[in-house]
Amino acid sequence: MKPVVLMVGADKGGVGKTTVTRTVLDYLAAKNVLVRAFDAEHPRGTLQRFHPDVTEVVDITTAADQMKMIDTLATSEVKVSVIDISAGLLAETLKAFTDVGFFDLVREGEFNFGLMHVVGSSVASLDEIAEVLPYAKGKHYFIVKNFINDTSFFEWNPAVYRNYFRGTTDAVEVTIPKLNEMAYEQVEISGVPFSDFVGNRGPDGQAANNSLVLRGYVRTWMRHITDEYDRVGLLDRLYDRTAAAA
């Protein structure tokens, strides 16, 4: 199996990018996929707070940290490296990865590459998609509509929408459903992966005392997300297996 790089990015903040990354890490772990994650929200590291065991904070703008991510791909035991790219740095990161020849290696079949693009509802997001489109060829480009915070979402003009996506007919749309606010808030406070919250475990693996109602909300929500990732064949696409059809 080829090593996989999965980038999760958005060109603006507040669209729940890190939350989406967390769901992906839980999903892959549930599928018994060895993962590591790079948190490019340097130096703060929101992702690292929730998944400290597998997450390393990197400064994606530096050559040293780019090397740290790419050079270890072939040697590492982990199969999927998830990179949570901080707001506003998606286009820049893609460019940097191009410059160091990463995408050449992808074309040569050394690695697989996936991009989860978490988009907001505004027109600014459409422009941002246009910037990312050159990197979004193929079946590994996921447009993630995030409803976690139930924003008034995607009231896009269908014509504009089609226009933007004409060049990427293979783009896969993924919808993350809304999560009950109190449940979301409680997971934030707990600072643990969603799966640990459901399993009633604290940050050090000790027994926690989470509300069973809130755990129920998170469990149901995660089940929907798992169904959604299964539906689009996320893992098959990342592994370049042919089974998937969105």
Binding site: E181, M182, L212, V213, L214, G216, Y217, R219, T220
Partner: protein
């Protein structure tokens, strides 16, 4: 025991920790699960709230003062009428869902009675299912029992059947209320009704004089007192102005219902003990 011995919990304060259990004379009782009785019916006016009150009194008289939850936020029937610790909940609020399910599934010796208003019927069971309430409660030595009151309509049995399937791990007692009248022909023929033919946990609410039924719903009448006080011809004032004969009927009715409740709860408990081999009787 008088009404003033009991308090009513306000709707805003967080729940106080459960009071320590009264000393139990039977040492083995400590290992027994406490019951969470969920009283529900698909439609209104089935005698559900009356039954919930009788259940609460049953637990009270068996030395297990219950905590009562009323999910009818608008009418608050139980709180108005009950001398028990009663929590009124608005299930459209997550906070109140937590107060209900987290408290009912908590490890504590007292019985719990939940009156599920037909207005929140689907919401209640959705949350109950989503939070995996039955196994969570059992982990904490709480044994949930659904008392499902069917009325004359076929859809009530159909819904009961679905509940039984959704919560197959949980004991479901089918309660039929004679007061609602004979079943419709259509109901008798329905698949839902027939599916309950071989159901093992059933009980009947016998007919009750409407005046007596009305008196039971009066807050001043303590059912415990009706049962425990000697039946006297002189002291009519104490029980909502009921005559001697009416009090005698209430007593007969209650004894009959209590016996049935005892029977089905023991049966449910026995099943629970089979499932949890650790409990040593």
């Amino acid at each position: 025991m008088t009404v003033s011995d009991f308090s009513t919990v306000s709707t805003i304060e967080p729940l106080p920790p459960p009071e320590p259990a009264e000393p139990i004379d039977n040492a083995n009782d400590a290992a027994r699960p406490s019951f969470a009785a969920i009283v529900a019916s698909l439609h209104g006016r089935t005698g559900k709230t009356l039954f919930a009150r009788v259940l609460a009194d049953y637990f009270l008289l068996s030395g297990n003062r219950p905590l009562v939850f009323d999910t009818d936020f608008t009418e608050q029937t139980l709180r108005a009428a009950f001398p028990f610790d009663t929590v009124v909940l608005d299930l459209s609020e997550t906070r109140d869902q937590m107060r209900l399910f987290d408290t009912v599934a908590a490890r504590s010796p007292e019985a719990r009675v939940v009156d599920v208003s037909h207005y929140v019927f689907r919401k209640f069971f959705k949350v109950m299912e989503d939070c995996d309430f039955v196994s969570e409660a059992r982990e904490r030595q709480v044994e949930p029992v659904i008392f499902y009151i069917a009325n004359r309509n076929a859809d009530a049995y159909e819904e009961g059947l679905q509940l039984r399937e959704r919560f197959s791990e949980c004991a479901l007692v089918l309660v039929e209320n004679v007061f609602l009248g004979p079943l419709k022909e259509q109901t008798l023929r329905s698949a839902g009704y027939r599916a309950f033919d071989s159901h093992d946990l059933c009980m009947m609410l016998p007919l009750l004089d409407p005046a007596v039924a009305a008196a039971i719903e009066e807050s001043e009448v303590s059912l415990s007192d009706v049962i425990s006080a000697p039946l006297s011809r002189t002291d009519d004032s104490a029980f909502g102005g009921l005559t001697f004969d009416q009090r005698a009927e209430m007593r007969r009715w209650l004894m009959k219902v209590f016996r049935d409740i005892h029977r089905v709860t023991r049966a449910a408990e026995q099943r629970a003990s089979l499932r949890v081999p650790i409990i040593d009787y």
